[in-house]
Symmetry: C2
């Protein structure tokens, strides 16, 4: 333990009351300035990113990783646009969410306050540095950022822009603190700081999430894998099913709300599967199926249990023919990751049974799994998609970075009358 | 690792979907039957409790501990009454909390679902066995109970009653699972079961909470100590201040919402403190004060930093004269435990500055700290008072044992138009 991260966290925590005390208009202007600062200094960010890309290539990073790491003018502008959207969102703080007058005249209010200090632990994508900072500040929190070492120059350049905006508004730079030393031991130190950090949010691959869950003494909300299912019910509209399948699997296969497994009711499998698999294959999707699937479409590769548990994040789909809706739910209960499940059906009783029968963070009836996204669900932006069934479940926007507390207003009420006089 | 607790947790988790699928009326009737069962079998519970009491005396348990452990007919009836109240509460589940139609016609709903399997880890009070089970079931969860070894016979007898009610309704007994073997290693095993347990709630002394926080791989909501402050502002109504002070300190000094520290604005200290301390002393309270306090009331013992950090849970009060409201807030930020803070003032600007300036789970304006209690705040019952600023903050009722997820209803909407045809 070096104490380096503790020092950073301590200063970020000390900045907490300053940020928490800002009015919504001041938090909005701060985030707008951050967006502006990113646009103005975009050449600095791109120069830093070029260093990261060169080092990444030298170190043999894969193409997908390099693509996540890469910034260009358009991507920097997109980051700034996202910040403007966060700035424009309604104020998540201060709102009285409930109000009740008790028989003794005491007024009970519930009110949202910031969580405090949030630690983000993430991998290569440098946009998270700006997104996470903006969302945390929008909700009155301060943030400790620990990005992947591959993106360290890009992250530092982006943090410089955010700090410039904080300075411009006379606010402490420590409100957005970056762990710039890439040593892994700093993550370990960070995860022990339960007296300073209110919440840690890891975003990245399975290995990162497991590492954080294993070592954390601070509360953690996991943003874990999405093994998302589409169930085509006996009463499905086949055209809708085809569109939802193609959209879910192929519109962006590398993201967590992409489909990984197709479940088909046996009564419609013979009709649905040949067309469905043909469309997928036309888009380059490799299909792995159960025996019944292979009985209908013979040239499908066999699927094993590992396929049903896999988050491919690629143009691969596991397929299984099920006996009925209960069988589909049992499959999801066994292999699902609590992320997103879709039913295609025109039978409203089946739809309700499916909604009731799964505990996932998002259940879709005749709508694409790709809608499980903060922007699509009306949150404005998201810090990630929680698969932890605590505090927040599903996409987390600024409001998920607050907590409700009690404010009690009285006129001298006591609990025991004898306390008077 | 013995696997004993894993087996229990596995069965409790398997019972989850059965309990989650019950309608509110069925959950209500189940909890009513549990109350009835406790009343019917009260002789068995009292006999078991007599064993625990005898063993406790032999083992030299203190008087306070023995009092918490002790049951009599009236206390068993009070437990049954509490269950009837939980049964009668509004349904925390299934409610659509928000609804929004998106521009593409997709309908977004937020809906409460059970957390899943909740583990309660608690100490001597056997009523927690029934209270926690009822609250968890009310919210559609199953529960794994690990009570203190001092109360093991009482807890087993109470669990027998709860199981009888589950059997009567044709429901799995495993929905309420008791870790009956008192070995400490079972708590350790329980805390590792992150694949089975959705939330652990420790309730008890500091040592227990620290042990759980130190070893848990499962999410934990801490119900930690209450170092509660009363701040008497310059603009306080002195009569209200006296009543709130006496109520907060003396009406039940052994509970977490009792006052531990009095902060007094220097402008009113000379007027307020002599009367206040006299009233407290008349009720047997020992006062420990700062230098300025001792300047006003000379025979007060000196307070040190340890006094300001202490949760006495006893008839002792720390007192400090502060320069102003900001000084009071700084004291609370330094020594507080995020539990309950009270301001006494007729100045509404001071009241709002106090509310804004503290992040505690409950802030009281001219009302007693003793109101920070689920029953008093209108929750009906509580599983504890969270001092964790995540998921729930303050008293936790049945609703705090649920989580909101997303239900999306569409008519075949896709994210990318090209997914069609």
């Amino acid at each position: 333990m070096t104490g380096y991260v503790r020092e950073l966290a301590l200063r970020a925590r000390e900045a907490g009351p300053v940020i928490a005390a800002l009015e919504n208009a001041a938090r909005r202007r701060l985030i707008e300035s951050m967006a502006q600062s990113l646009r103005h200094r975009s050449p600095d960010i791109l120069a830093a990113n070029a260093q990261d890309m060169a080092r990444g290539r030298d170190n043999g990073l894969g193409a997908a990783m390099l693509d996540r790491l890469r910034l260009d003018e358009a991507r920097v502008n997109a980051i700034a646009d996202a910040l403007m959207e966060v700035a424009a969102q309604p104020d998540p703080l201060g709102e009285v969410t409930r109000r009740e007058v008790r028989p003794n005249g005491v007024v009970i209010e519930r009110q949202r306050i910031p969580l405090g200090l949030i630690a983000m632990i993430y991998e290569a994508r440098p946009n998270v540095t700006a997104d996470a900072a903006a969302l945390c500040l929008k909700a009155g929190n301060t943030v400790l950022l620990r990005g992947g070492s591959e993106a360290r120059a890009s992250n530092a350049a982006i943090a410089d822009c955010l700090h410039a905006a904080l300075r411009e508004h006379g606010l402490p730079e420590a409100a957005v603190s970056l762990v710039s030393d890439p040593a892994r031991e700093h993550v370990l130190e960070l995860l022990q700081l339960s007296d300073l950090i209110d919440l840690a949010i890891p975003r990245g691959g399975e290995a990162l999430i497991h590492f954080v869950a294993e070592h954390a003494r601070v509360p953690v909300i996991k943003h874990y894998k999405g093994v998302c299912h589409l169930y085509v019910d006996r009463a499905a509209d086949i055209d809708k099913a085809l569109a939802l399948l193609v959209d879910g699997k192929t519109s962006r296969p590398g993201v967590c709300n992409a489909l990984e497994t197709l479940l088909v009711h046996r009564d419609v499998a013979g009709h649905f599967l040949p067309t469905a698999l043909q469309r997928l294959r036309a888009r380059g999707v490799e299909v792995r199926g159960c025996e019944r699937t292979r009985g209908i479409v013979p040239d499908v590769k066999p699927a094993d249990e590992g396929d049903y548990a896999a988050e491919y994040l690629d143009l691969i789909l596991a397929v299984r023919v099920v006996d009925d809706l209960a069988d589909a739910l049992a499959h999801i209960a066994r292999f699902g990751s609590d992320h997103t499940e879709v039913i295609v059906t025109e039978d409203s009783a089946a739809a309700e049974a499916f909604v009731r029968g799964t505990r996932s963070s998002a259940v879709m009836v005749n709508a694409s799994s790709r809608f499980n996204d903060g922007g699509q669900l009306g949150l404005g932006a998201e810090i990630g998609i929680s698969t932890t069934r605590l505090h927040a479940y599903g996409p987390m926007g600024a409001e998920s970075l607050t907590i409700e507390r009690f404010v009690v207003r009285g006129d001298g009420q006591v609990r025991h009358a004898e306390s008077r006089g």
